[in-house]
Subunit: 741 residues, 2 copies
Amino acid sequence: MIKEVVIGTLCGAVVLTIGILIGHFGIKKNSAPSWVNDVSKDVDENLIKQFLSEVDTVQLQENLRELTKVPHMATSQGDEQTVQFVLKRWQDPESGLDKAWQQEYKVYLSFPNPNNPNKVTVVNPSNSVLFTVREREKPYTPDQEDPEVVQPFAAYSPPGNAVGKLVYANQGKPSDYHLLNQTIDLRGTIAITRYGGAGRGAKAINAAAFGVVGVLVYTDPLDINDGFMSDTNETYPHSWYLPPTGVERGSYNKDFGDLLTPYLAAKEDTYRISPEDITGIPPIPTQPIGFEDAYRLICELDGKKAPDEWQGGFNCTYNFGGPGFKPTSSFNNSDVKLEIFNQGKILNSSNVMGVIRGSVEPDRYVIYGNHRDSWVHGAIDPSSGTAVMLEITRVLGRMVKQGKWRPRRSIIFGSWGAEEFGLIGSAEYTEEYFTKLSERTVGYINVDISVFANATLSASAMPSMQSVIFKATKQVSAPGSDSTSVYDNWIRYSNRTSPAHGVIPRVRYLNGAGSDYAAFVHYLGIASIDMSYTYDRSKTNARIYPAYHTAYDTFDYASKFIDPGFVSHQAVGRSAGNILIRLADSLLLPFNCNDYAESLEDYLNTAVTLYEAQLKAKNISMEPLKNAVANFRRAAEQLDKVIQSSDLANETPLNIRKINDQLMLMDRAFLNPLAFPDEYGFRHVIWASSSSGKATFPGIADAFAQAESSGSSTDWNKVHYHLSVVTQAIEGAADMLNEVI
Amino acid sequence: MIKEVVIGTLCGAVVLTIGILIGHFGIKKNSAPSWVNDVSKDVDENLIKQFLSEVDTVQLQENLRELTKVPHMATSQGDEQTVQFVLKRWQDPESGLDKAWQQEYKVYLSFPNPNNPNKVTVVNPSNSVLFTVREREKPYTPDQEDPEVVQPFAAYSPPGNAVGKLVYANQGKPSDYHLLNQTIDLRGTIAITRYGGAGRGAKAINAAAFGVVGVLVYTDPLDINDGFMSDTNETYPHSWYLPPTGVERGSYNKDFGDLLTPYLAAKEDTYRISPEDITGIPPIPTQPIGFEDAYRLICELDGKKAPDEWQGGFNCTYNFGGPGFKPTSSFNNSDVKLEIFNQGKILNSSNVMGVIRGSVEPDRYVIYGNHRDSWVHGAIDPSSGTAVMLEITRVLGRMVKQGKWRPRRSIIFGSWGAEEFGLIGSAEYTEEYFTKLSERTVGYINVDISVFANATLSASAMPSMQSVIFKATKQVSAPGSDSTSVYDNWIRYSNRTSPAHGVIPRVRYLNGAGSDYAAFVHYLGIASIDMSYTYDRSKTNARIYPAYHTAYDTFDYASKFIDPGFVSHQAVGRSAGNILIRLADSLLLPFNCNDYAESLEDYLNTAVTLYEAQLKAKNISMEPLKNAVANFRRAAEQLDKVIQSSDLANETPLNIRKINDQLMLMDRAFLNPLAFPDEYGFRHVIWASSSSGKATFPGIADAFAQAESSGSSTDWNKVHYHLSVVTQAIEGAADMLNEVI
């Protein structure tokens, strides 16, 4: 009996178990579709750890070596070689991207004539040449002897001859010419100016207004070399300092993008304005020279001693010029003569594009960009950044090819062309794909020069991205350290006290147009980051790394003096890549709008302090602006509460998308295509560049400065107009964060 | 033994069943979250049937009766009454919306001075008044005697006196004045013009260019009354025709939106331009008059007989004017004198807004709008539309309040203010919420006048919406018919042959700015529909329904002559509501981009026919435009294939959203804020209004006409510019439809 009971019970148990199994697995219940888990997947911290561990200094070094074998100025043969190199890497079956392609625009560039080099000479009254400025930089390594090294020139300076007595005009600011003009009739003179203080082209534009007929630009040793001048033991190849014959090349245009096709992608048949109608480029012949030659010219100048702030690093007194040279000089009575043979050319310039398709939200893009073109070998500018981008794509590409990873959102990599001539490749790209990019892009990461120097991280970004930058850089070791993070190191070099967070590293604002982020920030209103490793300012006053835009910016220079061991490259690659993965993979976009509010409040406080009293006197109220900023703060806090109180993993995908769209699109509300009609591409009313030098709303600041100086009621109206524009934009941005209905 | 086996088997079966039940229900498996079904829900045809059945003629009639009790010109007391009425309805606990509120803008309006009415007289050389134009329309019902009936006036005409000899200038087109000026020195004259052919304000702007000092505008019986003139038995109250003293009021501005705050929402402290700086309004005193008075003036005119096309419905010869009157006229040698006392005022105008929150995609909006303000009682314009809107909200509101329905997407209803003065309420709304609306709005439905006449539906829309209009109107019975649908009736009155669909009703293009869709189409690029019931053109040539903008547009007029029984109101309400529900509830947006492609191809063919030969001669290629249109077609077909091959109910919600976003945002790519710098709010390069009269791309058409007439190379460059602008826009729109990555 017992046996039967046992057997019966066992049988019953077996049958029950079979029943349970059939019931659970055999009968299809309203089970979750397979995508339910995918859509709620968040960023995988293990994957980030893996990424960080795989970013490799040797790979970075070899990338840079390959990229800098030859000069690769935009559209040159060397440029085409880099196109093929990047393409090959991105099409690699083991470590490439999903797809990669070359995309050309026909853009207006400016070059010296190789058969007829630009000449700068000192000529005496009988037209004998007493002195000739060097046409090529002195070689210290074979790099400088490459025949493809372009002669130093001022891109977009017009061709033509200019002859006149020389004057020293400091930095070529309007105030400099104004001061000079008080003692010298500037009409018919040639001005020599030093880099800094004013944009390249502005030095010539400002000069022409005073009747100056030609402009020379040089780099003063005080500004770039901490005073060092001698190449026998001080400058490169003995250190990172600029040799006496080094010349900073550069584009002398004011506006970015192809100058003949504003707001239109430069295709074959696109309407082009006439080159004569381009504004914002030098109206008079302009040429950059090295400080060895500038020394000769400046130290011989006659005339009054220039003010102390105008004095530079030469061991002589900087005089205004008689105009012209001292009676005691062998150049006495002589003119300086510029013979410029620059040529405008419409040429094909390529972006190389590569993508990793997103799995869950393929129609959301994270874009990562770096330009590819240099002036000469461009080891630092931009190849240090290209080396980093290629290392990031290698590591991520391998994960994709091995089936280990596919990002939630799509990632687009852009290797931009013709940046040096005015951010042309990236600008044309944003013009061509304006709506698509504007509607779908979550964020843009720009790494142009990845390593200026090896002291500390530097980052500029939309304030909403501060938190993800911090999160990522806390996970990356500082170069050469196992115990200190990039974040911890950074905070020592550059910090601020945030009302919300206390002392934190300073993330700068993106108000300039210094690199390819410009079109993304200003034209498209996309949350963007620009980052690099940079200087210890206690150790150098150099305006920028000394070999910038010269023939000395080479692999040798970079690997010996900028980042030996490539550890700073690695730190930037890890930091930028970490941010990239977070933007692409986070279930909820890692944007903090309260940090944006903090910046707006900062701007507001400055504006109130600087302007309110005078505006009140003009019956212009700042209350609407104050309300707008307060509304933005309230909306940001409220959205934050929604986010904090959400159980993200169990939220509906459309609710997550709703919040993400609020975060992604908020910045678009700051765009106003009519606010700055004279500035190409500047539509972002918070970050547009300003000439006021005030850390506040640019439209108001510039209009206020103008109104204060002119006193005209039209100008005061313009202040009121900009106040209304900014107010409406901030209210609109707050609306994007508020409850959607 | 058998018994035991049976018992054992039974026990086993019971245990197995228990096991299965436990397995299936007792153990939680990875079951579908509750939202999985919600996100894939599609439009419910039963709900649409219910909606259609509930739209009620008596409710429509009572809505109209209530709305037209008193005149409700913008910002008047009567307007405020309608605000409260709409609010009350939308806040009704049984049949209201989720929420409703009043939203004010401070806008610049123009009114006659009630204490000092505008005067038009004939004065003889000794300044005796020989004749005075009526200041009020003749009463036939108590409606016309309401003291709130505003004197006929030309809104935004400047105040001032103008005296001069009268001339007849036909429709006041430039060509009319030009012809007239060949025989008469127009300087110092007063021109009388008839409505039609040129915009209201344009008649005065064109006149002033020839030195004309004042303008009268009247409605010719030929244009409005099929020739009928007598109020003893022909005109209202005997028919729908305009009585002799009826005067069409109207706004004489060219641009829409508040004229002092272009692109800025008109709030308290918003920057305002000075009224003197407004462009596009009459520069000289202007006044509309009835045809009874116009008859007196025109039939007495001296001078050459006007051309046949200038002759109207009066039983006299229309002469040019001597200038002035015939020697045989009692007005011989007399002047016409205008004394205009219009006043500009900045006043609060209200939109009433109401919303139904969306369940699945609350951040997607379908907007339905109708203006609320009239000139007088406005039974047809706009209250026929308001009556329809309120009936739609009653039926939908009840479903929501009863818990029977909540739309997938949010629905926003707008009862716009101050439309008559230039679409002001809707324009300010789009300015204030530009980014939010632009990023989230799926479509806009405008029903201004719902019933012009009771013959047939008329619809204008983005071509992508053609299919949903057809689908909806096939489900609605034509007024007074059980067997014929609105669609079937419509196709008889107005049709075209589509390459894709064969003979179909003609959906017109939305290229004007005739009602509140303007800001949604032109400024925001939102897919929009404007619809109404309208005329049998075989029965009348009336330019518009004859009581338009007069004191005869009353409930009595509407219910007796326009839509007895309110069956056409019902048909429009059912059709518009059906479309509204489909836009709000369809899982996949019911937009067909192939139909858009068909329109672009139409435009392209016209452009090629009209322009290609001449452009070739100027070295301007149309190939890029042809390629762009072909790319758009390819992309539309490809997206269609994706849609057709998708198993929508089982697609991931983010994939559905991806396609919906493509469909929703495609039209945004057609916006270019810089293409038409002189036209407020016109940014849509396909549908912007054009003065060329050609059914093709407006920028190209207008630039071509200008270039052809001037022959200047600058103007030919502008054609090329517009060609590039449109090409880039169409390519951008195609990109929105293409695979997202």
